[in-house]
């Protein structure tokens, strides 16, 4: 790894440690990393949106015309219409003219709803209902001896689970007697679902931390100290960059400890 790449890696390592320092408490290092992230993300998104959206979808398609004629002499002059609708959205910045933005918004919502509603209804509601109403293949109980998706046991659990979870959310009848029992089974099914989601979430959070440990060790520390000869270019300048980042955090910890001592003394 050349030194300039290592400097950027060291900066990334600094930001990683700065973000993790929030686990101790809110502090200036965390604030710096947070604000930098928000600023860079916003700037990056604006540039990406211009180069991948506005420019190829509008400006390049009108660019065979002359903007002095508002591109009306373009081969595709109708692209000026979505361009104008887009500009009208900016009227929201004026209290007086904000109402104008309702027109492009109405067109956008109308098109989006028209496209989305039938597709969402068919593919995320009706097809799921069909899947949960599949006739139970009783022969599957004798097939595989465990709960795979095609087994009879699994089909029964899906059917009873779906019905009982729906019963739990049915509040027009008191949850007593048989209805109460089914609703209770529904709660258990919901709890199992939440438990599975919680388990996956824990795995997700640990993955993020594991990835950062891998980054700090493989990309940063191994290159700084030339562990197992991974970075033959490593010299004192690499160590210096590593030490600077380490000192910032050690310095912060010392400053925090001293602050506590001073507080204790004054108390």
């Amino acid at each position: 790894m050349d030194f300039s790449t290592f400097l950027w890696t060291s900066f990334a390592a600094f930001l990683t440690l700065a973000i993790f320092s929030f686990l101790y408490k809110d502090n200036p290092l965390y604030k710096f990393a947070e604000h930098l992230f928000v600023g860079v993300s916003a700037g990056y998104f604006v540039v990406i949106l211009f180069h991948n959206g506005l420019s190829p979808n509008l400006l390049q398609r009108l660019s065979d015309g002359d903007w002095y004629y508002l591109w009306l002499n373009s081969l595709r002059p109708w692209y000026i219409i979505p361009g104008i609708l887009g500009i009208l959205m900016f009227s929201r910045f004026s209290k007086k003219w904000a109402w104008v933005s309702r027109y492009p918004m109405a067109i956008y919502i109308g098109i989006a709803a028209g496209v989305a509603i039938p597709l969402e209804m068919t593919n995320r509601v009706l097809r799921q209902m069909v899947a949960s109403m599949t006739p139970i293949n009783w022969g599957n109980f004798l097939g595989s001896g465990y709960l795979d998706i095609a087994s009879g046991y699994s089909e029964v659990i899906i059917l009873t689970g779906a019905v009982s979870a729906l019963v739990y959310f049915f509040f027009s009848t008191p949850h007593r007697g048989a209805i109460g029992g089914i609703a209770k089974y529904g709660i258990w099914i919901l709890m199992l679902g939440f438990g599975a989601t919680f388990g996956f979430t824990v795995m997700n959070r640990i993955s993020l931390f594991a990835n950062r440990i891998q980054f700090l060790w493989v990309n940063w520390m191994k290159n700084a100290f030339n562990v197992k000869g991974v970075n033959p270019q490593a010299d004192t300048s690499y160590m210096l960059a590593f030490t600077v980042v380490a000192l910032i955090f050690v310095g912060y910890v010392v400053w925090e400890i001293m602050k506590k001592f001073r507080k204790a003394e004054t108390a």
């Binding site: 991948n52 959206g53 597709l119 069909v130 824990v202 997700n204 594991a210 440990i213």
Partner: protein, 291 residues
């Protein structure tokens, strides 16, 4: 203050510190974690493994750097498997921060494929993968729902050029490739609701073979689509990525992270048990005191 009351009042930062120490120690250890393969991951591997050379796999990089821990290993393993088997790959990035990561993965895997390697006992001689011939990277366009719908008509509608600015009609791989009908399957590595769009606006509308690589948080929510046969496979979280790495015999970051996962999970389970004991014991004590 008795032991249980102290336990309930424990500063959460001690929990963070313990977890961090366990994770770092686990990473430093060298033991292997056994990885069991789920059917839903196996089905993705089997599907790609049985494709013939020259067939096209569409990979959508629909995640940001914040999810790279789980999804980037899937991308590396998938792409390497495709290139080693001489399959063609079309890549898009429908998340705004995705193009950089997709580009990085293409470069890394292209370098890796140049080396002779043996996977699952099969020797794959090194080869050079060429842009436009072996893969096409279409890049990013905003509003994924519209892009997915547009690609169903013609890839050229949302993507007249590839990520590098080359008109896609001039790329050999794209000759005769109009829309999803010409691709064997779509695999979306998704973080967020882009997965829903692939189901509703993509698979539901154009009826192609669809599989997902998902973040752990999303995993449980998408299993119903497996039983309804709207998708043919799921890789969920880092464990899903580790399974795919194991299937392709291509050890990477996900399998490497499993040691941390194992010990961290044991510790969290221990904390949950201790926390519950503390909660019930202190509640019992309060009851005994008549509070």
């Amino acid at each position: 203050m008795d032991m249980f009351a102290k336990m309930m009042a424990l500063d959460r930062r001690w929990v963070f510190l313990t977890l961090a120490i366990v994770c770092v120690v686990a990473y430093g250890l060298t033991f292997e974690v056994p990885i069991l393969i789920n059917d839903e991951v196996q089905s993705i591997y089997n599907f790609i493994d049985t494709l013939k050379p020259g067939q096209i796999v569409f990979i959508a990089v629909d995640y940001d750097p914040s999810n790279q821990a789980e999804l980037q290993p899937m991308l590396y393993a998938l792409m390497e498997q495709c290139f080693r088997k001489d399959l063609k790959v079309i890549i898009t990035a429908l998340s705004q921060n995705g193009p950089g990561m997709a580009d990085q993965a293409i470069r890394d895997v292209s370098d890796s494929v140049k080396l002779d390697r043996t996977y699952n006992g099969v020797n794959y001689p090194g080869r050079t993968v060429e842009r436009g011939k072996d893969y096409v990277f279409l890049g990013y366009k905003p509003y994924p729902s519209l892009i997915i719908l547009g690609m169903g008509q013609n890839f050229r509608i949302p993507f007249p050029t590839d990520y590098y600015g080359t008109p896609i009609d001039s790329l050999p791989l794209m000759k005769g490739v109009i829309n999803y009908d010409q691709v064997a399957c779509v695999i979306s590595l998704a973080a967020g609701n882009i997965a829903d769009m692939w189901i509703a606006d993509g698979q539901g509308r154009y009826n192609f073979k669809l599989a997902f690589g998902l973040t752990g948080v999303m995993g449980a929510d998408y299993y119903p689509y497996l039983s309804s046969k709207q998708i043919f496979g799921i890789m969920a979280g880092q464990y899903g990525a580790a399974q795919y790495e194991k299937l392709t015999d291509n050890k990477g970051m996900a399998q490497d992270g499993m040691r941390i996962q194992l010990l961290a999970h044991w510790l969290i389970i221990l904390f949950i048990i201790i926390g519950n004991i503390g909660f019930f014991a202190s509640r019992r004590k309060l009851k005994e005191q008549g509070k």
